[in-house]
């Protein structure tokens, strides 16, 4: 994906050149790129910062973004009371819990004319609707696979079994797993071919056994894996689609692999908390983000695929053809959405704690 292409500047000897343009149009950025101080890229963000700038220009409402390490952390903040957010981004498996706890409100679809449910792929979006009431609308979807530095780990890999086995062999002290019970336990369960969401005692015990065996060989337990992978300290990590796409784009030898045993597929949604301090602004921003013209920029910025057919039409071919973003159907079929029960199950939480404290 090219963000900027073909800037060229030749200045005849002893000549002056004036670069003119309105404030904020990118004069300095251009010069910095020519000078090599800035790399043209889409930026490694989950959002395109320009989106919020434009929104502010249109409405006068400034957007402040909070980022959390996990859905569990976000739920904790919402449970603690007034979060101060007017719009937030939960993942599929948490929405029914939010509804049960009464901390999100049913969306008033009249205020979201830019959303078109008929253009959404229900495979990805059904979890935002409970008892025919829409509580959340989709932002993007993706998968949880793993990223491998193929220069360091040359053996081709296709499964979670190989991920865990490599972590204890060639990938020793160079492998990262998420600090996130859903995916770390889920993908350990896949080693044995169990369900990603299993709550069965004996299956979880097997997963724990594997995790404890792998633990001494790990480079880190952290969901912030891009710095380690980019610096070459880590050679392999559990990885989400959007991070996988960004890593591969910037460092082509980093490949993104989906375990053939299955694993996670996810959709991130937008929802509005009941105690939102500024609901009109929340709706206005949400409606703005549902505009396909805006959404397409968001998808290009964060690298995650879209659930919206209108957006897919606007995306460039190389994005739609990118197998990291839109994997082959046979790889998608075995993937599972996280189950609501895993979010609140104390057994999985304790398992994760035992793994981390071991």
């Amino acid at each position: 994906m090219t963000a900027v292409s073909g800037i060229d500047l030749s200045v005849p000897p002893s000549a002056f050149v004036a670069l003119l343009g309105p404030s904020g149009c990118g004069k300095t950025t251009c010069l910095r790129m020519i000078g090599g101080f800035e790399q043209p890229s889409e930026g490694p963000n989950y959002h395109d910062p320009q989106t919020f700038e434009n929104f502010k220009k249109d409405t006068g409402v400034a957007v402040e973004v909070n980022v959390f390490g996990s859905n569990e952390e976000m739920l904790a903040k919402l449970q603690a009371g007034a979060s101060g957010w007017s719009l937030f981004v939960p993942t599929n498996y948490t929405i029914s819990t939010y509804k049960k706890l009464g901390i999100i409100e049913p969306l008033d679809m009249a205020k979201l004319p830019n959303f078109d449910g008929t253009q959404e792929d229900p495979r990805f979006t059904s979890e935002g609707t409970i008892d025919k009431v829409i509580y959340a609308v989709p932002k993007n979807w993706g998968t949880t696979g793993f990223a491998v530095n193929t220069k360091k780990l040359t053996k081709p890999m296709t499964s979670w079994k190989e991920f865990w086995d490599t972590a204890m062999a060639e990938g020793d002290s160079r492998t990262m797993v998420h600090d996130y019970q859903l995916t770390t336990i889920g993908n350990a369960l896949k080693y044995y071919g169990y369900s990603f969401n299993s709550l069965k005692q004996d299956e979880l015990a097997k997963a724990e056994e594997l995790l404890l065996k792998v633990k001494p060989h790990l480079f880190a337990v952290s969901s912030d894996y891009q710095p380690g992978m980019r610096a070459g300290d880590a050679w392999m990590t559990m990885c989400w689609t959007n991070d996988g796409a960004q890593l591969h784009r910037d460092i082509p030898e980093i490949a993104y692999v989906l375990g053939k045993e299955g694993g996670e597929i996810w959709t991130d949604f937008y929802a509005i908390p009941k105690d939102a301090p500024n609901k009109p602004a929340g709706y206005a921003l949400l409606n703005y983000l549902m505009n396909p013209q805006v959404a397409v920029k968001e998808h290009l910025a964060n690298g995650a695929p879209s659930t919206d057919a209108r957006v897919n039409k606007l995306l460039p071919k190389e994005v739609l053809d990118n197998p990291i973003l839109y994997p082959a159907a046979d790889l998608l079929t075995p993937l599972e959405f996280g189950a609501a029960a895993t979010l609140t199950d104390p057994g999985r939480a304790e398992l994760m704690a035992r793994f981390k404290s071991a």
Binding site: E73, Q79, T97, A220, V221, A231, A349, A353, S357
Partner: protein, 287 residues
């Protein structure tokens, strides 16, 4: 006379009011809330549900490793700090030229003006693959890994807490009566025995203050092990973050927090006792 005393008492109360209010609002009330939480139950979806049970305290052994790791990290980290800090404080207080002293002291304190998080991130970069290992690779030493090792954690701790150790030791050495050193030399003591018998002994209150200050802060540390250690070793701080934010078991988290506070108090009392005994009647004024 009576009116005077009343006015005096009133003035005292008035002057103490801001500090008292601060203490009540930010220390006593949260502590009470946490104590109440700690005898409650985890609600089915996480969080807190009123109850009166000591089950959470009975469950403390489930975090035994975290307690054990912290109990090792805190004194080892504080000791490492001490070993680096003492020579620095000694030089600053007794050797450095007068006119350089303030500048050198400022250099010790200035890093504190930036948040520890930022400085720890800087170390992540320095120790990570694009930092020192890249330099080593340049001279032909390949694939060195410094980040996410116990050494990196110890380095981060020494770096982060060093000023807290240097300053109290510096103060106690600075107050040292130089004539005692002369007297010791006049009476035939070797420099080593002067150092051990006079300098070190008289600076012990500072050492104990620094040691307990660093150790108490290390009891709650979780950032440095997470960022420089790769989150592979779990400390009480990490256990608390996990219990409050991930598994949302507030009562259990509260019980651990209360236990941690009690442990800190015991550490303080023991440190005070030791330093009082070692250095005669002088007390460590830490609380």
């Amino acid at each position: 006379m009576y009116g005077n005393r009343f006015r005096h008492n009133f003035l005292t109360a008035l002057l103490l009011a801001p500090a008292t209010a601060w203490l009540v609002v930010f220390l006593v009330l949260p502590f009470i809330a946490i104590a109440v939480f700690s005898v409650g139950e985890r609600a089915p979806e996480g969080g807190y549900q009123a109850a009166f049970t000591f089950a959470q305290y009975a469950n403390l052994p489930a975090r035994a490793t975290a307690f054990w790791n912290t109990m090792v990290l805190a004194p080892v980290g504080a000791l490492a700090c001490l070993l680096v800090a003492y020579p620095v404080a000694y030089y600053l207080a007794l050797q450095a030229p007068q006119r350089w002293r303030l500048i050198l002291l400022a250099l010790v304190v200035i890093p504190f003006w930036t948040s520890l998080l930022m400085r720890t991130y800087a170390w992540m970069y320095i120790l990570g693959g694009r930092g020192i290992p890249a330099l080593l690779a340049f001279v032909g030493i390949e694939d060195v890994r410094l980040i996410n090792t116990p050494g990196a954690v110890l380095l981060g701790i020494v770096y982060g807490y060093l000023p807290l150790m240097i300053l109290p030791i510096y103060v106690s050495l600075e107050r040292l009566d130089r004539r005692l050193l002369e007297a010791s030399a006049d009476l035939g003591a070797t420099p080593l025995s002067t150092f051990l018998g006079v300098t070190l002994k008289l600076s012990l209150p500072g050492v104990m203050t620094g040691f307990s200050l660093v150790m108490i802060l290390l009891l709650g540390e979780y950032l440095i092990p997470t960022l420089l250690g790769g989150g592979k070793v779990f400390f009480i701080g990490n256990a608390l973050v996990d219990l409050f934010l991930q598994s949302r078991n507030w009562p259990f988290g509260s019980a651990i927090a209360i236990t941690l506070v009690l442990v800190s108090v015991v550490v303080l009392i023991v440190a005070n006792r030791i330093s009082t005994r070692v250095s005669g009647a002088r007390r460590v004024d830490l609380i």
